[in-house]
Symmetry: C2
Subunit: 428 residues, 2 copies
Amino acid sequence: MKEQINIGMIGLGTIGCGALDVLQTNKAEIERKLGSRVEVVKIADLDITSERPVKFDKRLLTTDASEVLENPEIDIVIELIGGVHPAKEFVLRALRNGKHVVTANKELIAKEGAELFEEAAKRNLDLCFEGAVGGGIPIIAALKSSLGGNRIEQVIGIVNGTTNYILTKMSHEGRDFAEVLAEAKAHGYAEPDPTNDIEGYDARYKIAILAGIAFTCRVNVDDVYCEGITKITKRDIENARELGLAIKLLAIAKRSGEKVQIRVHPTLISVDHPLASVNDVYNAIYVRGDFVGDVMFYGRGAGPRPTGSAVAGDVMDIARNINFGATGRLPCAVLDRCEAQSMDEVATRYYMRMLVTDRPGVLASIAGVFGEQRVSIGSVIQKDQHGDNAEIVMVTHQVAERNFRRAIELISKLPVVAEVSTWIRVEE
Amino acid sequence: MKEQINIGMIGLGTIGCGALDVLQTNKAEIERKLGSRVEVVKIADLDITSERPVKFDKRLLTTDASEVLENPEIDIVIELIGGVHPAKEFVLRALRNGKHVVTANKELIAKEGAELFEEAAKRNLDLCFEGAVGGGIPIIAALKSSLGGNRIEQVIGIVNGTTNYILTKMSHEGRDFAEVLAEAKAHGYAEPDPTNDIEGYDARYKIAILAGIAFTCRVNVDDVYCEGITKITKRDIENARELGLAIKLLAIAKRSGEKVQIRVHPTLISVDHPLASVNDVYNAIYVRGDFVGDVMFYGRGAGPRPTGSAVAGDVMDIARNINFGATGRLPCAVLDRCEAQSMDEVATRYYMRMLVTDRPGVLASIAGVFGEQRVSIGSVIQKDQHGDNAEIVMVTHQVAERNFRRAIELISKLPVVAEVSTWIRVEE
């Protein structure tokens, strides 16, 4: 048993303050569970003058990261600055100096995980990142450990709170994207530059991490197909509801034969699916294992307090390993190379909306093209009239995306089709 | 690293077969993750002749538990016979012989946990029981480890699949209890003698275990208030729906000042609550921590495959501890005595249905009694006429159960009240 475990922090922004807060507020409980004292002994941040929403001993602050990274007293470094650089260099230095690392940095783990985990393994150090996906939801631990006896078939997540908030507002209040985004920005639910969230990049990092653990394989972030929510309209949300479908930005990872398909895009799912009722800023990760069946993990996917909870859990895990001489006990199990299935090969269902000339035979010509491309139609709804045109909504049965895209291309060129307005993937 | 970790099993019933199945089916994956071989080397069961739904080497079978418990080659004993005796004696013998134990036996852990964990701790052995609550849902690991940095405020679970199936059928199909129970028995979703499930005893064991971990205190099962679902009628379910409420058998553990309240009873919750849409045999556990906020864990709460998943996760956890010399790493953290709040003191809301004389002033006399007992009324619905009587449904605001019960006693005696037909607790 180590009498005292010393923590150094890099980054005292919003998330850093949440982590510091939980380690201070629940210090007695945490120490009692561990049987060791746990002290934050140094905090590096470029800004050491701003007021923070958490009370702490200001003498711990330094602008010099070396005072954390080179401090021989420090056992665990908590990195919470975000982004790849200089976070990567800091984490590598911490590991090379024999320090365990806790981070909530999804971009870093998704892009540079390979190098970092190799460095940690070489030195028998722990590198923990529960807070990188789903805030305080213990999904990393579940996949690495509790569900470890399963062959995981798929992981489907709502892993970005901002887009889930926007889509929920659009759905419940019948409002359009731009309007809700503006409101989300005003309320602080969306960043001033929301690109990272609304284009799905944040979700892409997260599903890359989850897929890697679930399928024990190294995922290249660039192989993850990614499409944001900017083109979703209230019109499509209303049509979908008529069809018993709800819209979510889903991050999907599935085994498909020997390959894996990993993709982030707006998706229609049955309103009866447990993910359909995950609303507002909440996240949820739906996992299917060969023995456990379907399990879902739900909670606040971001924010200083939930992420602080995850960081504290990681710190306690490492502290136990230190005390039992068992560091490196649960190493990175990303052992395989995996081949990503191209979107062309991915088979799913599709919702589509188009404007057509309102005269006999139109449906027949569209159905003809679909038939040639082996796309079979599940349902058709004729919607409102727009001048000489009628709006038609269709949902296909499952078909390879290559075929569907080819059919759409051909249908767009039919003289009777004014416009294929939009299409959205539909998951079972 | 131990080259091979040997498992002995006690009990090869339905659940035992599920555990054996996962350890065989996913053997290669499990061993690759652990870096050790994991072999089931002996299986004790009184019945060694019946056909089982899993293929295995019949030479492993014995009717003599000693061949597992006294076998010096065996590292981990999996106990899956259920019930307190002789399971307790077997687990104690295993521990005294230096073997780690995995069990899914909720009754054993809830009633005899104190003695068993003490024995395990004394010998630095692991005693794991993820499968005892929520089947394959990793709720024990989450509470013990990932959420360990939180002060847990409450745990609310749907932890019994049979009753959830019955209540779901009653709600969705407008049918009465007896009819659905008979059907559930016919389909094998309810035992021939369903007492343990429908009276809430099974849920009581489970919430006693969860509360103990969440509040790090020893819970006496007898202190857990327990009420089953046998008195729930389709009439009340319909009334509740009109009020925006759904019926669930909830297992509730909450801190209440310095005390804890732990109770199992049919409960009305808002249809918007995430637990309200947990249907059929699915389970879910809703946890509130001071930092993580609200998190929910959802999945199949029973059955051989999900429970097998939990058992395999525990086996892997122990195997890692063996390999790293870290057994006893995550000990039982039930450190405190906790005082149970009596139901008299518990404050909640109440739904009630009664038959009253249909004449002026009736509501005033009822409201008068409620007022004297400091019970305040949230909503009132006048329902159908029954001869000279009218049916009235009321929902109170939050009030201590002592006051509510006293009010009901007095109201029952009012000359204008023919009958207080039923009342059900309502949770926020």
